[in-house]
């Protein structure tokens, strides 16, 4: 199925570099590296690999999935599954790769794959189990082994993107997948096997010599955590680490040791459309016109951000390729004031104060950016107050149901979608019943519902239509496309790609 993905210049350049400039895989060596992360991993379970802090360590290293999203072109490609086909509206048959072993020597087979798919969804067979990956399978599926290498997966609704969803189901060994207890000693099929974890200290992996694919060059990997970005960068400078993730602009070097990539993470604003002053779409449009992205984004985010107007990135099938050049509500404070005045003339309480709800860690230099946004909004007459809070409190404002006594909010969100499909974003964020939605437009709901069960170009077009209405309605307002930085030590080669925010495959790292 085509995902209809369009790529930014950076992604194209990255892909070209990868395709043209990727060095041939070096021979196996005894070399070891240290990777320094910003956030400590909190679970080694294959059903918890969705958050970046877990994915950074285990995805693509310890665990693999049946399919994967290509970092080059965004298409779904085989991984532990060799091929698949849809045998009926709701049933898919997967043919699995032969000869794959788990790290404990047991065979990877359809029974193991089925067990992982069922356990990820939780349910009464796994009392008390909470899996962070379960959100990637929004409606229940049933997985059954037909034989050792044939797996049938049956959905409860028509789901044209099931193979894409299964790229988020990582595969652990069969024994662990029959229990509700969280896995503490992960066993996967990836090129690296788990050695040890000391809470608050380090996670160690070592090369798996029985790996089915090409053996990686690096033998041992140690993951450590340093919360301070400058400390992470310093560790690479001094040689204490070879790769540092989530570097900030002020720590970046001017040479090729600092690698940039876009992972489709967009900084957006979500007005609460049910309450004044945001009830009228003209006021919501005014929000976009009021913000001088071309000035504040480069000035504050530097190389870590670029002005942006949409909710989803260029890789996603709901991206509107012409929107930025024609249609985007670019900085025009006079227009913003005019719209606000018109809404006021029609009786809307545009002077109602509202809270800009944000988090200190929402993005690097996010605090300053939000202050600049608030200033822009005040300049056109809106009464914006900033409320910065930690993650768990911020989420209370993000999710429905919104308490009636809650004041009107403009929620700042850093939203990423590396899947390429808007079904991972739109149902949750822009439909009437979406858990993170503050908008209810029946036309959008109808288009999203139709798109969710459509395939190919039709699916893409429906999502794009929904996006057009969303942006015109001011339901979500894009501010900046985030650019992420990784710092590499001397002699370390790694080509970052749009998936590097989640998955840093050590097998793709080469040492001189």
């Amino acid at each position: 199925m085509k995902l209809g993905i369009l790529w930014s210049a950076v992604a194209i350049a990255s892909a070209a570099t990868m395709l043209g400039g990727t060095p041939a895989r070096a021979e196996k060596s005894d070399k070891a590296i240290t990777v320094v992360l910003a956030v400590e991993l909190d679970s080694l379970d294959p059903c918890d690999t969705q958050p970046a802090q877990n994915a950074n360590v285990v995805r693509g290293n310890v665990f693999e999935s049946l399919t994967r999203v290509s970092p080059v072109n965004g298409k779904v490609e085989p991984l532990l599954a060799d091929s698949w086909k849809q045998t009926s509206d709701k049933t898919w048959e997967f043919k699995l790769k032969k000869g794959v072993k788990f790290h404990d020597g047991t065979d990877f087979n359809a029974a193991a794959a089925a067990a992982n798919i069922m356990r990820t969804q939780g349910g009464s067979n796994f009392p008390g189990l909470a899996c962070l990956n379960s959100g990637q399978i929004p409606t229940p599926v049933t997985a059954e082994a037909v034989d050792d290498l044939t797996l049938n997966v049956t959905t409860t609704v028509v789901d044209p993107i099931l193979p894409l969803r299964l790229s988020y189901v990582d595969i652990g060994d069969l024994v662990s997948q029959t229990k509700p207890d969280k896995v503490l000693n992960p066993v996967g099929t990836g090129p690296y096997k788990f050695v040890s974890r000391k809470q608050g200290d380090a996670v160690k992996l070592t090369r798996f010599d029985g790996y089915w694919g090409t053996a990686p060059q690096i033998k041992d990997v140690t993951y450590i955590v340093r919360k301070e970005a400058s400390v992470r960068a310093s560790m690479v400078e001094t040689g204490e680490a070879q790769i540092a993730l989530s570097i900030q602009a002020q720590d970046a070097t001017d040479d090729d040791r600092t690698v940039t990539f876009k992972d489709n993470r967009i900084f957006v604003m979500r007005p609460m459309t049910f309450k004044e002053p945001f009830k009228d779409p003209r006021v919501r449009q005014a929000l976009s016109y009021a913000i001088d992205r071309d000035t504040i984004v480069p000035a504050i985010l530097g190389i870590t951000g670029a002005p942006y107007y949409q909710m989803l990135g260029p890789q996603v099938n709901a991206y509107l390729p012409d929107y930025d050049s024609a249609g985007a509500m670019k900085y025009d404070p006079a227009k913003a004031k005019e719209l606000i005045a018109a809404a006021k003339a029609d009786g809307h309480a545009v002077d109602t104060p509202f809270d800009i709800v944000t988090r200190p860690d929402i993005l690097p230099d996010g605090g300053e950016l939000v202050q600049a946004i608030a200033q822009n909004l005040r300049e056109v007459g809106l009464q914006a107050n900033i409320k910065s809070m930690e993650n768990t409190a911020w989420r209370e404002f993000l999710r429905q149901p919104f308490p009636p006594e809650q004041p009107p909010t403009l929620q700042m969100i850093s939203h990423d979608n590396t899947s390429g499909d808007a079904s991972f974003s739109f149902p949750k964020y822009i439909t009437c019943k979406g858990i993170n939605s503050a908008i209810c437009n029946p036309e959008i709901d109808k288009l999203v519902a139709a798109a969710d069960v459509a395939a190919g170009d039709e699916r893409d077009q429906l999502y794009r239509k929904a996006a057009e209405i969303l942006y015109k309605d001011g339901g979500f307002i894009g501010i900046a496309e985030q650019i992420r930085l990784i710092m590499l030590g001397e002699g370390v080669n790694y080509k970052a790609n749009p998936l590097s925010g989640l998955e840093v495959r050590i097998a793709d790292v080469q040492l001189n």
Binding site: G122, G123, A130, E228, V231, S234, T238
Partner: protein
């Protein structure tokens, strides 16, 4: 003495119980850990099963009752976040905090004694002014800034020390310096003030008149009599160090109870938070008792009643 100790322990226990109650209820006001362990839109049945498994489905008062009964049996529950006994998590982090605090406190006291005494002896002279300025600077220096500047200079530029971690003795230098710098400044001023008072007293003049050397007068006579206020202030500072040295934990990734408490709060790991509070509370109670005992050794006129 025993009566005094018994009374102090009892009042410490009552204080600790109060802290436990406050922490128990306040931490639960931050919300449920559900958000951190389930994706958005998780099935209600799954959430109910999770709540049942961790006793979060019961009324708060009932949860507190169960907690108290369990604590009475030494069971602080299992960490939702770390999947191990909560008290094990807390006790595993405390030794590093105690060692770091002990080293930092020892250095702070030693340096403060020397500098404060010099400033007092050479009062109003250049050395006094330099020591005063330095102590004011160090006592008001932001720890976070000092830590980062220390890394930049000694680790990145000079390559003399590691940036962070705790794997070698050299990796302790910057964290200890960061934790000590503020107390050195504060204690130096306390020492200086106490020594000035003592050095102007009659028995010191007497000692000088009898021909004792300056060093003997200062270190054998004056310092001993100035020790009490220094010990009291040092005790307060040490209690603060036991509380966590959180900055050191964050910047240097140095293990310690402070980092554990911050992590428990952010992850809504109530069992670990409660266990950590108990461990820290008991440490501070014992530390205060130790300070009282030291005072009686330094000044035999003090009787604990």
């Amino acid at each position: 003495m025993l009566t005094y100790l018994g009374r102090r322990l009892l009042s410490g226990f009552i204080t600790l119980l109060g802290v436990i109650i406050v922490v128990f209820f306040l931490s639960r006001l931050t919300g449920s850990p559900i958000d951190l362990f389930f994706p958005e839109g998780a099935e209600p049945a799954q959430i109910e099963a999770f709540n049942r498994a961790y006793g979060l489905d019961k009324p708060l008062i009932e949860q507190f009752g169960i907690f108290l009964v369990n604590v009475g049996q030494g069971d602080f529950g299992t960490s939702i976040w770390q999947q191990r006994p909560a008290m094990e998590a807390a006790l595993s982090e405390m030794p590093m905090t105690l060692v770091l605090a002990s080293i930092a406190m020892s250095i702070s006291i030693l340096v403060a004694l020397v500098l404060g005494s010099l400033a007092a002896v050479y009062r109003f002279r250049a050395i006094d002014r330099i020591v005063t300025i330095l102590s004011l600077m160090t006592s008001s220096m932001p720890h976070f800034w000092f830590a980062l500047v220390g890394i930049l200079i000694f680790a990145v530029q000079l390559r003399l020390l590691p940036t962070s971690g705790s794997n070698s003795w050299m990796s302790w230098i910057l964290p200890v310096a960061t934790v000590s710098i503020g107390p050195i400044g504060v204690l130096t001023q306390v020492v200086r003030g106490a020594m000035i008072d003592v050095l102007s007293s009659g028995y010191i003049r007497n000692a000088r008149a009898r021909g004792f050397s300056g060093r003997r007068v200062v270190y054998r006579h004056a310092l001993r009599n100035a020790a009490l206020p220094i010990i009291s202030v040092a005790g307060d500072i040490a209690a603060g160090m036991v509380n966590g040295a959180v900055i050191v934990s964050v910047v240097f990734a140095f293990p310690g109870i402070g980092r554990l408490i911050v992590g428990a709060i952010l992850n809504r790991d109530f069992p670990v938070l409660q266990a950590s509070v108990v461990v820290v509370g008991v440490s501070i109670i014992l530390l205060n008792l130790l300070i009282d005992l030291i005072c009686t050794v330094v000044d035999p006129r003090i009787r604990l009643t």
